[in-house]
Symmetry: C2
Subunit: 135 residues, 2 copies
């Protein structure tokens, strides 16, 4: 989806309670399977670009710049729906993930599970990260 009106972008930005750093956490969920893929952060520019283009764009806190998901790896996220929670301080992005969401080459980032004997890895690497990042 994309939004085409200034009204929609303005209302979305007004409904979001950005934190002291101007950021809001955004959960990305695969729209059809319900798989939670990752969590990243957005600022006002990332929200605006995502709504306008339909291609999910985050704010990279480590790099201090807009992060167009998939710009290096090709593993893009198409926006399917854009949701804002009850108090405006979390976003839920319904997306269509191309390939894998995680930089480790796994489909989603939540592959560490607490078990009674410790923390276990529960998902395999689907794509070699060297392939994704050309190292």
């Amino acid at each position: 989806m994309t939004v085409t009106t200034d009204t929609a972008v303005r209302e979305a930005l007004a409904a979001i309670a950005f934190d002291a750093n101007g950021l809001v956490p955004a959960i990305a969920q695969q729209h059809d399977s319900g798989e939670v893929l990752m969590l990243a952060w957005m600022n006002r520019d990332a929200v605006t670009e995502t709504l306008r283009t339909g291609n999910v764009c985050y704010w990279s806190r480590s790099r201090g710049r807009l992060w167009r998901k998939g710009e290096t790896s090709g593993q893009t996220q198409k926006l399917v729906d854009f949701r804002i929670d009850c108090d405006g301080d979390t976003l839920l992005l319904m997306v269509d993930q191309k390939g894998v969401a995680c930089h480790t080459g796994r489909r989603n980032c939540f592959f560490n599970a607490v078990r009674d004997d410790g923390v276990a890895t529960i998902a395999p690497v689907a794509v070699d990260p060297k392939t994704l990042y050309g190292e």
Copy 2:
């Protein structure tokens, strides 16, 4: 689920990258339907209590104290699985939600959706909040 060993609690805490405030965001997802219910925050004590008891406990940033989900409303969350993401800075809790997760009386918190003519409410109130909070 609960964990019964000190090893599991210690490894979980060591795997989590708590932020400068000692907190980590935790996504709660209904374990069987895949519905994303809410996002809240945890500190070390909340993680430990959740793993030990199997009843989800957050840290309330607004109240500055542990928040045993459902302690007032009765709308508890049973822990089904506890996942940590690739860089340790987000948790995914698979839970069994009793009743509704949202303080507005809706099943989940993400009921505001951006549409081309603005932000729309897409989910009905399932339970009157006055019933939940005895107001």
